[in-house]
Each structure stands twice: as structure tokens, then as C-alpha cells.
């Protein structure tokens, strides 16, 4: 037991050097800088950008367990005419509607809120609807999310992801509610700010798919579920007892301590949620909590 505590304390120390939470403006400027840099690098690499009459080449992963001839995974090529502003999802829809109506992928909102079209595009987890083709190298390679069972083509089985989300008891459970049905529970602005980023998760599963630990340990709760736990554990309106229970859930063997701070989840999250930071914060809470009992 004591070794474990030691280990936790080291983790805590490492934390001190972590940067402070950035303001949205800084985050946005950083993201923009990064995007411009990426685009520039690509321009240099290609010496030209896409024009409206050009063609984008897609290499799309195909697999159907049922249909003969499609049971062996393969890649199909599609040539899609490009127009400005076109996204990976637009290109997939074009290919499906014009060339092969059996091409299968999930999508719905086209605006990065439903979380259904997380894909592995040119070697990275991204939302198809939010990824401009102009930001990618040609040919564009589109695969299902890694580390999840493929149902068909680009569709993966999300059950495991949902199970992990539900394992952290993802629902608000206030200690006591105001007596009057028309009176709200007060929450300070600071506290809302603290949990704000964590409430943005759209359950796309990109983070889980990018995580090496989750890939090796099927029981690991994973970044999205831990972030969900953070959302409630840090909400001042839930009482101390509930918080204890929440910490017990995330402290378990396959919980926060599995995270090795590799930041891959944080890098791919399309909602810019500082996942690693949230996991670290819960580690800190958990240490503080355990110290109380010593």
C-alpha cells in the first residue's frame, strides 16, 4: 500500500509543472497557429493547393462479413471532384451516392455535434464532417477507428465504448435539491468554468481509439469515461459522499492510474477537451482523498 502512495505522490509532483489552464482565446489562437502551420507545411510539400476542378483520391477501407467477395478487408479507390470547403464526409457521401451505394459509414449532423463520424483519416482519428480535404495529403486514406471491432466498412461496434461511459455512473446526483420546484441550485461561475470543457464531449470515441493503454487493456475506463467522471466529481453541487463514490470508481485497478500521460487522447479530441489534464486532476483528487484517511 505504501508504495502505491509513493507512486501517487510522484505523479502529484509532476503535476506542479504542468501549464495552467489556458483561456479560450489562447487555446483558439494556438489552434489557429497550428492549423496555419499545418496548411503552410502542406502547401510547401505539394507546391499547390486544391482547385475547384481537381479530383481528390480516396482510398476507403471496405469489409462486409456477409457478402461474398467483401469478406476479405480491402481498400477501394474513389475519385471525387473537389470543390472549395469540401470535407471528408462530403467526399464519402459523394462516393456513396454516385459510385457505390453499399459504402457504409455513420453520420448525421454534419456539424461536429452528433459524434457519429469519427474515422481514421490519413493515420489520425478525426471527425469526417469537420475535416477539410484541403488540409489533407492526397490520396486520402479513410479507415474505421482502430482498436474497435469493425461491423462493416467504416462502421465500428461502439458498445464497449458506451459500456465504459456508463460504468462511471454518468449522471448528476445532487445531495439535496432546493425545496421549491422553481428554485435553482446555485453554482458559481468559477465552478461552471471548471467543468465547462468536460461537458463538451460528444461521445465520438476518437480518444479511446487513439489510446495505447485502452488498446492493451480492454477494461481500462478510457479518457472519455474518466472525463465524464471528472465532469461530475468536480461539480460543486454534488455532495462529498457522492464524490467519494465517484473517486472510488475512477481509482479502481483499470481507472485513472492506468493513464501514462501520453496525451494522444487530448491531441485527437475534436472538442479540444483537455483530457489528459482532467485525468491528472482526478489523480490528484484521489491522492488528496486517500491522504485524508491516513
Amino acid at each position: 500500500m505504501s508504495t502505491q502512495i509513493e507512486q501517487k505522490e510522484t505523479e502529484t509532483e509532476e503535476q506542479e509543472t504542468e501549464p495552467e489552464v489556458e483561456s479560450p482565446g489562447e487555446r483558439r489562437r494556438a489552434a489557429k497557429r497550428q492549423r496555419l502551420a499545418e496548411e503552410e507545411a502542406q502547401r510547401v510539400a505539394e507546391e499547390e493547393t486544391l482547385d475547384d476542378d481537381e479530383t481528390v483520391h480516396l482510398k476507403v477501407f471496405r469489409y462486409d462479413p456477409e457478402v461474398e467477395g467483401k469478406q476479405e478487408p480491402r481498400f477501394d479507390d474513389f475519385a471525387v471532384p473537389y470543390h472549395k470547403g469540401m470535407t471528408v464526409l462530403d467526399a464519402l457521401i459523394y462516393a456513396r451516392d454516385r459510385y457505390d451505394s453499399s459504402l457504409t459509414f455513420r453520420h448525421s449532423c454534419r456539424q461536429a455535434v452528433c459524434g457519429s463520424d469519427a474515422l481514421f483519416v490519413n493515420g489520425r482519428q478525426r471527425l469526417g464532417c469537420k475535416t477539410q480535404l484541403s488540409a489533407l495529403e492526397d490520396p486520402v486514406r479513410i479507415e474505421p477507428l482502430p482498436h474497435q471491432e469493425v461491423v462493416k466498412d467504416l462502421v465500428v461496434d461502439m458498445e464497449h465504448f458506451y459500456d465504459q461511459m456508463e460504468a462511471v455512473e454518468p449522471f448528476f446526483d445532487a445531495d439535496e435539491l432546493p425545496e421549491d420546484d422553481l428554485e435553482e441550485q446555485r453554482q458559481s461561475r468559477e465552478n461552471r468554468e471548471k467543468v465547462k470543457m468536460s461537458t463538451r464531449c460528444i461521445w465520438c470515441g476518437a480518444c479511446m481509439s487513439s489510446c495505447n493503454i485502452a488498446a492493451g487493456d480492454n477494461e481500462y475506463l478510457g479518457p472519455a469515461a474518466i472525463n465524464k467522471a471528472y465532469r461530475f466529481a468536480m461539480d460543486e453541487r454534488e455532495g462529498e459522499d457522492r464524490k467519494q463514490e465517484r473517486l472510488r470508481i475512477i481509482e479502481q485497478e483499470h481507472g485513472v492510474w492506468r493513464c501514462q500521460t501520453q496525451f494522444s487522447c487530448t491531441e485527437v479530441c475534436p472538442k479540444d477537451i483537455p483530457l489528459t489534464e482532467h485525468i491528472q486532476a482526478l489523480k490528484r483528487e484521489s491522492v488528496k482523498n486517500n491522504l485524508k484517511f491516513w
Binding site: 457504409t104 448525421s108 456539424q111 422553481l182
Partner: protein, 608 residues
Amino acid sequence: MYEHDVIVVGAGGAGLRAAIAAHEEGADVALVTKLHPVRSHTGAAEGGINAALQEGDSWDLHAYDTMKGSDYLGDAPAIDTFAKTAPEEVIQLEHWGMPFSREDDGRVSQRPFGGLSYPRTTYAGAETGHHLLHTMYEQAVKRGIEVYDEWYVTNLAVTDHDDPEDRECHGCVAYDIKSGKIEGFRAKGGVILATGGLGQAFDHTTNAVANTGDGCAMAYRAGVPMEDMEMIQFHPTTLPSTGVLISEGVRGEGGILYNDNEERLMFEYGYANNDGELASRDVVSRSELTEVNEGRGIEDEYVHLDMRHLGEERILDRLENILHLAEDFEGVDGLDEPMPVKPGQHYAMGGVETDENGETCIEGLYAAGETACVSLHGANRLGGNALPELLVFGARAGYHAAGKDMKAAEIDTGPSAKSEAGDVHPPVEPGAVDAGSEDVAADGAAVEPKAVIENAVEYERRRVDTLLESDGVNHAEVRAEVQETMTANVNVFREEDGLEQALRDIRQARVDYEDVAVADPSRTYNTDLIHTIETRNILDVAEAITLGALAREEFRGAHWRAEHQERKDDEWIKHTMLAWNDGTPELYYKPVILEGDEQTYEPKVRSY
């Protein structure tokens, strides 16, 4: 066959609220939904939820604004119930942990919105719907409510009595998208349709790809009338390339609309001298299109929405999400450049006719949310009124289906509520053609619940087999035909010739649909099949919208007619009703109720 007390079809805001209510009432309830609940389109709502929470505001002011906004096509019993119940529903969400934006004292913030006489819109940043949807799903998980996700409901199991008002709904048929299995669902208490919007009838819409009007079309074919279908709201600020919505919040905070000559069009051309950019949605939409039509649009397509002058700090504080949308979907940085915007289909004010308890004229069949028309929004919905609607009426439908004793409804439904026959002479005989038509009520004179469901399941299995086995046209072509003609002819501006052209095109699409076939032979996750069935629903709702628009010879709210440039109160304060009638739509009217329990509304001129 699966059995539950209450089956809720659809798990967006309306479906989740209904399921939670039914569960509270002690019912065994299941959600059957084609998308996982958190993928529902409620998650896309940005602006906010209206409720009279503060001292100085009151439910009757909210009701009055809603009636005025509706251009006097809303029903007073619905509007009053809505405005009275919205506050407790919103606070309940807060008690469920919804992360609302807060004031310094820790109370929820409220902001001004178009058409409201008091700043009564509660919100959570510019992503209110996301938080509402997730908060409610969390509560459903907490209660252990059963969810059949990625199950597509294709049909209702309804008895086949001649008169729709004698029919009973015993359940529905659904298709497991992952495995291809088709199964019956029996509901002892009732089926609640909460399938959301129908934006996919148009090719430029803020709606998700899944919003194909399934609930409307299924209820319609089962015999429930569709109400006020012509009343489609177009939102003035959508991104031209995708239809992604730029919230009214931008104009609320002071965003300005410019034309190609860099003129502030709402003032320069006097479209709305008092309210300018904050005039109601229909007014702003028409102004923008007038600019484009008169050659002052940018690239002949759109206008500019500028928020740069608001300053980075304010934008990041209140409109951060808008920056991401403009950046990701249009490649525009809203801090450095104006954003391109044009009107897009946004919301269906009409839908499945229900009473204030959410019930339709078919016993045991309910509808709530955007798919329903209890007649709250009339000819024009106020921003921020759809989310409280799905809370209030979703909950009522859930309680009622679960057996709670509720006050008898004041709103009459079904063909017997008819006041007069409709008069429209479409250029072609509307209605279904063979392959598209289907006996929605069970074959034979089945009335025993299990037999009704089994028949319906049999029917669906045959339909799917046929679609998978035959060769023919791809649904995408048919869908595109409908979407294009709707956007060209049944848009913000409507002219008689165009409406008739749309009807001819829809009729042609129906003929083409007779030869539709699914190329993908697989039963596993066959989206080709799903989209093919959805396209059938799009045909029915598109036809209803167009017929309604052709019939209504006046200018009211969102419904603009070139030939009829005035609101004709003497003749047209009535609801357009459309009944399926074995595939030949029957048009009739039902009176609008302007007299509520406590207050009576006098039509006033809308001015800006």
C-alpha cells in the same frame, strides 16, 4: 416480439423527456431510436430555452409573445399550457445538472431573443441543445430506461377500422440496423412518436441527415391528419456550403448584415426599420434573398454577417462555438472576416396533429417534439420555443401514455374536428402510386393486438425482401429530385406556378420511386436500405408541404405567396389539415382556438 407498457420512438429531447415521464409514472418504457440517443439532432440546438423565470416576467407575457409570433395560427390551450409549464421544466433540467450559463449570484442566465418582450431565454453557452440532450440522456441512464439504439422504426401497428378515430395503435415494427432483424414491438399503454424534423425534404437545411420526417409520414399513413405542413421556418443565417446554422445569438449580440455593396441592408433598404437585424426570421430571410435576387448578393448567392466589431473578448465569451463553426465548415475566421450566410430550411411548425396531452385521433398513438403539431408555433416559431416545447409536451405525452389521469383535452383532433372542406386544385392528382402506397393498417379485419403487430411485421419483411432482391433506381436520385424542387419552388418565396411545378416533380419522383431498389444485398448495417425507406417518407411530407402551401392563399408568418401579399384574417385563421385517405390526400380545415381558459387573443398586425 418485444413488449413494454410504453414505446417511445426517437430519443432526442422529446423522446427522452417522454420516456422519463412515463417511467416516473411507473410504466415499463423503452426507447427505440435509429440513432444512439446522444446522436439526436437536439444536440445541435445553439441558442436557448425560453421560460418566464424572473420576477417582472410572467407566463402570460410568454404566451402572448408566442401567440403574436405565431401570427395568430397557434391554439390558445396549447400556448397557455406551454407557457405555464415551461418554468418548472427548465428548473427541473437544472436540478438534473444541466450546465446552464450563470449569473454572478449563481442563478441561471437569461438573454434577449427575437420576438420576446422580456429576456427570457436560458442557455448554456452557444451549445444549449448539446447540454440538454446529454443531461436528459444521463437521467434516462440513471433510471435504467431500456434503449434499443440503431433500431429503425418503419411502420406502426394500427387496427384497420374505416374511421381513423376508431383505430387503435398497438405497437410498431422496427428494424435492427446492425443485424437486419425485423421485429414487432407491442406497447400496452401507447406509442409516442418523437422522431424530430423533416429538413431533408429540402436540399439546403440546418437539419441533420437523419431528419427525414419519418414520424410524420408514418402517422399520416396510419390515418392521423397532418396539420399546417406548409408552415416551414427558414433561418436567415446558415452557412452557404453546408446549411450549418449560425445562431440568432450573433445578431442578438449586435452582428450586422451587409450586402455586396457593403450596405447594411436591413436599414439601407428599409426592410425592418425598427428592429433591423433582429426582425423576425421570416422577415430577415426574405430581405436577404431580395438582395440576392436584385443583384446585390455576394457571388449571387449570399450576404455577409459581420461580428468583428463586437471584439474578441465578447465573441469568445458568448459566441465561441460560432467561431469554430465558421472556421470548420466555411474556412472563415469570424474574428478577421465577415461570415457568409443565406437562408436555409430550419424547422417544421406543422406536423402530426395532437391535443395538449400529446395524443392523436388514433387511440394509443402519441406524438411530441418537432414531429408533432399541438399548434404552439402556428405560422412562425419564436427562437428558443422548440426546446421548452419538447420538454412540456414530451412530458405530457409520457404521463398520459403511462396512464396518468389528465384533464380532458380542449383541442379536438381527427376528422371530426373538421370545420370545412379544403379547396385546392393541384395540377396533377396527388397521392401515392402503387409501389409507394402501403396498407398501413393491418390486412384483414385484425383487431387483436398481437395479430395486428404480426401482420405489420409480415408486411415489413416482405417489403424489405422485395427492396433487397430487385434491381432498379437508387433512392439518392429520387431524393435529390424532391430536395431540389422543394428548394427551388417551395422555399422562402412561393409562387403559384412554382408550387404546381413542385407538385408535378414530386409526382414524378413517386413514379420513379416505384422502381427503387437497394443495391447492397447485405443485412448487416445496410444504410442503403434505411435511406431508401426514409426517401419514401420524404416524398409524403414534401407533398403535404406543397399542397398546403398551394391551398393557403394568403401571406401569414413564414408562408409568403407572390399572388397574395396580405394576411387574410377573415378567411384564413384556420389550420390546414391533410388526411391520407387511402393514398389520396384529403384537404380540410379546422378552426384555430384563440380563446383560452384564462385569456383570449385578439389578432394584431405584425409590424417591425
